[in-house]
């Protein structure tokens, strides 16, 4: 009796392992762990920023921040997180076109965010704050820039994904990929909220 039960379980298990479903779940779990390492990466950058936030070496400091622009880009990024959620929703309803369209909206918002960030950086450089100006600006550009780099990578990934969905439709692989991109996107949103609070809000206060 017990043996035949074992037997059943084993077959069950084997099929589970080979099946696509299990494979995709595994990858999603792996991505969660990856995100954890990214959390540590950002924590270290935040810690360095906080340690160095007073080290302007007599040069320009947080007075160069332009809070209005930052609020706009924060709004843009938060909205994009919302639209990426809508994309996942459309995917679960099996609506391929809606899925692609929401991804396009998300990517456009993300691109706007990056454009705003690049403009901000250019203005700062124009006003004499570069990565080499002082420890404070080194930490600022590195922290904010790393977030921006993450967003840009997400953008490329998202565009690549649109082509894949167009070609292969909604299947276990693309479902996992969309889930992961959206998870990543929400994560970047959360990181940005910390950047907004710690760098900008506390900076101008």
């Amino acid at each position: 009796m017990a043996n035949s039960l074992n037997h059943e379980m084993m077959n069950e298990h084997q099929h589970g392992h080979d099946g696509h479903h299990d494979q995709e779940e595994l990858r999603q779990f792996g991505f969660w762990i990856f995100l954890m390492t990214d959390v540590i990466l950002f924590s270290v950058l935040f810690a360095t920023y906080i340690v160095l936030s007073g080290s302007t070496n007599g040069g320009p400091g947080t007075e160069l921040f332009e809070l209005n622009g930052i609020i706009i880009s924060t709004f843009v990024l938060l909205t994009s997180s919302f639209t990426s959620g809508l994309a996942v929703l459309a995917m679960h309803q099996g609506k391929k076109n809606a899925l692609i369209n929401w991804l396009i909206v998300t990517a456009l918002l993300g691109a706007t965010f990056i454009t705003l960030e690049v403009t901000e950086f250019m203005t700062l450089v124009h006003e004499g704050a570069t990565i080499g100006t002082s420890a404070f600006w080194s930490a600022f550009f590195t922290l904010v820039g790393t977030h921006g780099l993450h967003v840009s990578i997400g953008l490329v990934w998202m565009v690549a994904l649109m082509f894949q969905i167009k070609k292969y439709g909604i299947n276990p692989v693309t479902i996992r990929k969309v889930n992961i991109v959206s998870l990543y996107w929400h994560f970047l949103d959360v990181v940005w909220i910390f950047v907004f609070t710690i760098v900008y809000l506390m900076g101008v206060m």
């Binding site: 043996n3 035949s4 074992n6 037997h7 379980m9 084993m10 298990h13 084997q14 392992h17 080979d18 595994l26 990858r27 779990f29 792996g30 762990i33 990856f34 954890m36 390492t37 990214d38 540590i40 990466l41 270290v44 950058l45 360095t48 340690v51 160095l52 080290s55 302007t56 070496n57 990565i131 080499g132 100006t133 002082s134 420890a135 404070f136 080194s138 930490a139 550009f141 590195t142 490329v156 990934w157 690549a160 994904l161 082509f163 894949q164 292969y168 692989v173 990929k177």
Partner: protein
């Protein structure tokens, strides 16, 4: 024109040192010989198909081990050069600059390019087999991890003949490692080499966590896993918390050097002390990352060669996990002397001493496992027995170092050098050797010559004590580390000479090991049983070497030491597992992308090191292209038909 080429060449190639010319010539010859041999025997295609593009964890494991042993050779030569320079007072064998470069590269290579890959090699060779899995969770990523490690290591090693080696110590403390004090490209080679291989290590950590948590054979509860698997889990968890810190730290140093940022500089508001905190937040856990798997290996070996269940399994698991967590709260003991608040020092002194407790628990568990066991003294067991006293002494001197007031005396002296080599050689190196000896027959399908193995063991061990025991006294006598020479008046020469002799004995031990392998390959003793040591865990239940799919049928593992229990039942004639039908096996397909992508990383790193953006940017584009191509690859997988599996099994088990 000619002048400017000459000028460039003199900066690009390292010149002026006969040792380095010798190295260049021998590297050149080896390369030519390698290319010629591969071409002559028409092996390029084979190399590409069977090794470079493989995603089989066992092959990746073998490549890690080979690379690690080559690096052990390089790091060992560095060590012997240093010991030669220190053999007698006023030696003029190495210049002080060269000495600085050698202790830097020796430290980096031994820890990052020897211990780490040897450890990953063992992870790959053993973990899937022990948990009854067909592969790791992410075979493609696994191959990428290996190639990133290799390219990083190559980049680092290249600095020896191109551009010049780094010389700011293995942890590259600023301001010494900043552009002002280290203007040569050596430090950039360091940054990029470690960074690239570090990404690989991080991914390996993720890969093995998922593998262990999600891919165990049915029935294998967490608390039934073999102890080595537990130690790999503990080590991998430590990796995923520690390596991102290293990534950031090196990236910031790179920004300082390449783009004139001011994180750790003396001017511009930078803070060198922040680097020292950050690097040790990685550095101390790193030491535990490499020692934890060694603990796992010893547990397996002690239990197998005593023919007893491991004593205190639960306390062992608890000890592993405690160590991996506590290791994050001790980093400041590396700079007690740099002027910190007394309370901070007290905190870190206490956390450091706390680690001794779980470590002691483990040692007692091993001793209790051996107690009243039927012990046999084959080479894996010898290394384990050699490890115990060595590690106990190393651990005790470590506790001595953690006593903050005493550390003001020992700090940066040869006492410290003796201590950490005792733990790193006696613990890590001996541990990984023990593992290699233990699993060798499983991996390669033949056993190693025991007699030569014993010679190797004894020369290594005696050499070890002869080399490092005198250094404790040298340290107490006031000899500081990184001293490149000393005078007759110091009275240090007998001890130093003894130490050097011990160093060369270890070199001899290494030669014995190489000889042992060569001899065993030549007079091959095939392991037909698949279970030469009468093992306890699942890897011994399959033929050696393991077929590419590992298990024809996924085993059931309801007990700890599942294979041992199964053997016991079979001996008693009890059949519990009914014969399973063999089904087609799903396998991941080969891929050249990991290799190509890693080469792109190499190109990118090399470009940035020299400030050649025409080279770095195409490299980056290559990396992105590889990622996209991989993302667009669907269905890179295949099935092994049941017939093939049956045929392979019959051949390997000798029933055909």
């Amino acid at each position: 024109m000619l002048e400017s080429i000459k000028k460039f060449a003199s900066e690009f190639f390292v010149t002026g040192d006969p040792l380095i010319y010798g190295a260049m010539v021998s590297i050149g010859f080896t390369m030519i010989a390698l290319v010629a041999t591969l071409t002559y025997f028409k092996k390029w295609g084979w190399l590409w198909r069977e090794w470079i593009t493989t995603v089989d964890h066992k092959r990746i494991g073998i490549m890690y081990v080979i690379a690690a042993l080559l690096m052990l050779f390089r790091g060992g030569v560095d060590a012997l050069l240093m010991r030669t320079q220190l053999a007698l007072p006023n030696m003029e064998f190495l210049t002080p600059e060269h000495y600085n470069q050698i202790f830097t590269t020796h430290g980096v290579i031994m820890i990052l390019f020897m211990a780490m890959p040897l450890m990953f090699g063992l992870f790959n060779l053993v973990v899937p087999l022990q948990i009854g899995a067909r592969d790791v969770a992410f075979p493609f990523l696994n191959s990428l991890s290996f190639w990133l490690f290799l390219m990083g290591a190559m980049l680092f090693n290249l600095s020896f003949v191109i551009g010049g080696s780094p010389d700011a110590g293995w942890l590259a403390y600023p301001p010494l490692s900043e552009k002002v004090f280290s203007p040569s490209v050596g430090q950039d080679f360091y940054n990029w080499g470690i960074q690239i291989s570090g990404i690989g290590s991080l991914m390996t950590g993720i890969n093995f966590i998922v593998t262990i948590l999600k891919m165990r054979a049915p029935g294998m509860k967490l608390m039934k896993m073999p102890m080595f698997v537990w130690s790999v889990l503990a080590s991998s968890v430590t990796i995923i918390f520690a390596f991102p810190i290293l990534t950031v730290t090196l990236a910031l140093l790179m920004l300082d050097r390449t783009f004139g940022a001011h994180f750790f500089t003396l001017d511009g508001g930078g803070n060198p002390m922040m680097y020292i905190n950050l690097i040790w937040m990685w550095g101390h856990p790193e030491v535990y990352i490499v020692i934890l798997p060694a603990f796992g290996i010893f547990s397996e070996i002690v239990s197998t060669f005593s023919k007893k269940k491991l004593f205190g399994y639960k306390s062992m698991v608890f000890a592993l996990m405690t160590i991996s967590i506590t290791s994050f709260f001790t980093w400041a003991h590396h700079f007690f002397t740099m002027g910190t608040d007394a309370n901070v020092i007290a905190f870190f002194a206490v956390t450091t001493m706390i680690i001794a407790i779980p470590t002691g628990v483990k040692v007692f568990n091993w001793l209790f496992t051996m107690f009243r066991g039927r012990i046999t003294f084959q080479t894996p067991m010898l290394w384990t027995l050699g490890f115990i006293p060595c590690f106990v002494v190393g651990g005790l001197t470590g506790v001595m170092l953690s006593v903050a007031p005493a550390d003001f005396q020992f700090h940066n002296s040869y006492f410290l050098i003796a201590h950490f080599h005792q733990v790193l050689i006696g613990g890590v190196a001996f541990g990984f050797f023990a593992g290699l000896y233990y699993w060798w027959p499983k991996v390669f399908g033949f056993t190693l010559n025991e007699k030569l193995g014993k010679w190797a063991f004894w020369t290594w061990n005696i050499g070890f004590y002869v080399c490092f025991m005198p250094q404790y006294f040298l340290g107490l006598d006031g000899m500081t580390r990184r001293t490149s020479t000393f005078g007759w008046d110091k009275g240090w020469y007998e001890l130093n000479l003894t130490s050097t002799i011990g160093g060369f004995m270890m070199g001899l031990g290494f030669i014995f090991q190489v000889w042992q392998i060569a001899h065993s390959v030549r007079f091959m003793q095939k392991d037909t049983t698949g279970d030469p040591w009468n093992g306890r865990t699942l890897e011994w239940s399959i033929p050696s070497p393991a077929p590419e799919y590992n298990f024809a049928v996924i085993p059931q593992a309801d007990e700890q030491d599942a294979w041992w229990e199964e053997k016991k039942r079979r001996a008693e004639g009890i059949v519990t597992v009914t014969e399973q039908p063999i089904e087609p096996i799903h396998m991941p397909g080969k891929s050249g992308i990991p290799f190509i992508k890693s080469v792109c990383w190499f190109v990118t790193g090399f470009g940035f090191i020299w400030g050649w953006y025409w080279m770095a940017i195409p490299g980056l584009i290559g990396i992105a292209a590889c990622m996209l191509i991989h993302s667009f690859t669907y269905d890179n997988e295949y099935y092994i038909p049941a017939e093939t599996v049956k045929h392979t099994e019959a051949t390997l088990r000798g029933t055909m």
